[in-house]
């Protein structure tokens, strides 16, 4: 496993706070979040539902402005979304009025026609959607739509991918397959990945580091280094140790 602890810091979050006005009161969602993500690192942000982790990702991506603090990427403050950093929604971000091809080529309109066609074909093959080029999203399964969205993101060759519970709406088998594919793509394309999830197992299977958030207002409770090489053995002692550690951190008895 390459040592990412020496890679330069790609993304820095400093003193980030977010509060929403709700009726008369103010709801504090995020409080004093500090985090560094290194270039090429895969970081999972883990927290209970509704803790504000999606809000955090939306701020980092530039869709929302924080109440205080700042996010910078390569030393430059983030003020708006940018095609160098693509946000992958839970398959809902696929444009239903475009075919698979049209979606994957969405961010490529500056390329000459031939280069665009090649790039689209490359990413269709990469996510295994050959034969579905002309299909519309409503004709595809949830997992295939998710692949379209990932391919659309990768096609513009971004440095950073933001994934907001990308596999949450999929069935458990498809979810496992998609995790494997995401890791394969991440290793092949060397992206920095920020991945939001509420699934402890998912975070330990995927991440270099897991950032555990507390309930509202969310703060960083702990950052867990996952020192396991890929592909990970999900029955190894170390894997179980790390997983159980996080279970305890979040305060759940994992016996049913």
């Amino acid at each position: 496993m390459p040592d990412r602890s020496v890679a330069p810091v790609k993304l820095a979050i400093r003193g980030l706070r977010m509060a929403f006005r709700a009726g008369e009161g103010v709801v504090r969602v995020l409080e004093d979040i500090d985090l560094d993500v290194r270039s090429g690192e895969f970081v999972c942000i883990l927290g209970p539902s509704g803790c504000g982790k999606s809000t955090l990702l939306n701020i980092v991506a530039g869709f929302l402005a924080p109440t205080a603090g700042k996010v910078s990427i390569d030393g430059e403050e983030v003020r708006r979304p940018d095609p160098r950093r693509i946000f992958v929604f839970q398959e809902r971000g696929v444009f239903p009025w475009l075919t698979v091809e049209g979606n994957i080529g969405f961010g490529l309109d500056r390329l000459p026609r031939e280069a665009r066609r090649e790039r689209i074909a490359h990413y269709i093959a990469l996510v295994g959607l050959e034969g579905f080029e002309k299909a519309y999203p409503h004709e595809l399964s949830g997992g295939m739509k998710q692949r379209v969205e990932v391919a659309r993101a990768l096609a513009v060759d971004p440095d950073v991918l933001y994934l907001d519970e990308p596999f949450g709406a999929l069935d458990s088998i498809t979810r496992l397959v998609m995790r494997g594919e995401l890791l394969r793509l991440w290793q092949a394309e060397k992206k920095t990945v920020l991945f939001v999830t509420h699934d402890i197992e998912e975070s330990v299977q995927l991440a270099d580091r897991v950032v555990v958030l507390g309930a509202r207002p969310a703060r960083v409770r702990r950052i867990v280094e996952i020192d396991l090489p890929h592909p990970r053995d999900l029955s190894s002692r170390r894997y179980l140790e790390l997983r159980d550690g996080i279970f305890e951190e979040i305060g759940l008895a994992h016996r049913i």
Partner: protein, 286 residues
């Protein structure tokens, strides 16, 4: 963007929210030769009933179907049929096109521009319940008796539903799609063309179809007062000039048939494959 307007603005939504009712599920009603049997039988039975009832009755309340067919034949022979139909379609085309050109952009603007929307929404809501027929005196005052008055009435009647439909369509664009567009670095202009327009098109088409129905509904009323040609004029003239009720009913049948044809054409557009996502129920539905 997210704020929902009053319930009145969502009139067209009921249609989209129960797609099976509004658009017909292809599974339960396959568009095939066999599907025509039931409706055609219904029409034939109705005509038979009509004919028998007229023959049996002592003082006929209206001409029978054969008399109406003969009346249509008479109109056709004398060249009136073509003349009146074209006159009506001409007025509808102009009034409706004008309404589309004004009403749709206005609706989009009111939905996108929050403050402007808040300022003008009450005005739209007050104008909406006013029947287009109430505008006839003003139309005649402004445009005199003639085509322009009829076109204006059609414009008034069909532009407001279009404005409301466009507003509702824009409000239903998913925030995720907006954000995805921004993420890929689209300018406002590009976002309008590549996200907004395709996203609102299905809802807008429903609005366009309903508004065309309204335009066709209103042209008859306009022609009864403001002009001396068209199907509306035919009906009123047939009565005034000699109590030719066979011609009156012939005019009614023509109006209904052409209205149906217009509706069928608009529904065809809704079946385009690229639009099916909005009617299929799951993907991108609000």
């Amino acid at each position: 963007m997210k704020a929902r307007a009053g319930a009145a603005l969502d009139a067209g939504d009921a249609l989209l929210n129960c797609p099976r009712l509004a658009f017909g599920s292809r599974k339960s009603f396959p568009i095939s030769a066999g599907a025509w049997i039931v409706p055609v039988t219904g029409v034939v039975l109705f005509l038979l009933f009509w004919d028998v009832a007229i023959r049996a009755g002592k003082a006929p309340l209206l001409p029978g179907p054969l008399a109406v067919v003969r009346a249509i034949g008479e109109l056709l022979r004398k060249g009136f049929l073509f003349k009146h139909v074209v006159a009506s379609l001409f007025r509808v085309t102009w009034g409706y096109l004008l309404a589309v050109v004004v009403g749709v952009p206005l609706g989009i603007l009111l939905a996108i521009h929050r403050r402007l929307g808040l300022a003008l929404a009450p005005l739209v809501e007050i104008l909406r319940p006013i029947s287009a027929l109430a505008w006839i005196p003003l139309a005649i005052l402004w445009f005199g008796v003639g085509d322009a008055a009829a076109v204006f009435i059609i414009f008034v009647a069909s532009s407001l539903p279009l404005t409301v439909a466009a507003m509702s369509a824009v409000r239903h664009v998913s925030e995720t799609h907006w954000n995805a567009g921004r993420n890929f670095g689209l300018t406002r202009r590009q976002a309008a063309l590549r996200v907004l327009l395709p996203a609102i098109l299905p809802r807008l088409l429903v609005g366009l179809r309903l508004a065309l129905g309204v335009a066709w509904l209103v042209v008859v009323a306009g022609e009864m007062i403001a002009v001396n040609s068209g199907l509306g004029f035919l009906i009123i003239d047939a009565r005034n000039a000699g109590n030719r009720y066979d011609l009156v009913v012939a005019g009614m049948v023509l109006i209904g048939t052409i209205g149906l044809a217009l509706d069928v054409i608009m529904r065809r557009l809704e079946r385009l494959r690229a639009l099916q996502w909005a009617y299929a129920g799951s993907e991108g539905a609000p």
